[in-house]
Point group: C2
Amino acid sequence: MISKNLTAASTKPIILGILKQGNSYGYLIIKKIKELSGGKMEYSDGMLYPVLHRLEKEKFIKSNWTMDGGSRPRKYYEITELGKQELVHEQAQWVEVTSVLETLWGKTSTST
Amino acid sequence: MISKNLTAASTKPIILGILKQGNSYGYLIIKKIKELSGGKMEYSDGMLYPVLHRLEKEKFIKSNWTMDGGSRPRKYYEITELGKQELVHEQAQWVEVTSVLETLWGKTSTST
DNA sequence: TCGTAATACTTTGATATTCTATGTATATAG
DNA sequence: CTATATACATAGAATATCAAAGTATTACGA
């Protein structure tokens, strides 16, 4: 299992990344994350929905209810332009930190 | 500046990584992180010391006071065997999550 | 030698975050 | 008709965080 901190740090870029691939809704996003991580990351609904609400409040995503004939209502989320910008920003930060870590890992592994 | 979440997620591997390179003490660790990140990550002392205490309590690092002639007392920290194992573990998790993100980034950038 | 800045470590507690638990409701399979 | 999966929502207990304040020593210029 992925640690709490790391989960927290990756939640935003993962959700935005998934939505950049195409619109989706809460329940499906949870499944997609589980699938993408090979089961290593698993969000409960109580964990994910509040994050979606926050991201929407911050204008990174927007939602609209859909009732595809027959199925029950779903709240589809879509990434906004602002959200795309934020994703780029998140990406840059991730690379930044990873680079610091790689410097350290590189140096620590020289002893073979 | 690096986001709070990402800072939180990287604190442990960064500290353990620095100490794996060689013993160090709080004040110097703060400076080293700032230097390594090109100023993008900056810990206040109030942020770092409690983390060191926690890591020591968890047996990932151990400390001993030194009084090199002339200079004031310093609490040097050293990584333990358990700490080295934990670092490997942290590293694996980081790679895991980065791989999920890269999958998403890869797919999102196909549109050129 | 006096004052200031840098070094060095510590702890408290207000503030913010998180996520568990719980609730609602529909669709579907058996 | 019942159990389970789907689908979304939120209160608030529990926890984590970090700014701020405190202590003390050394270095250094005036």
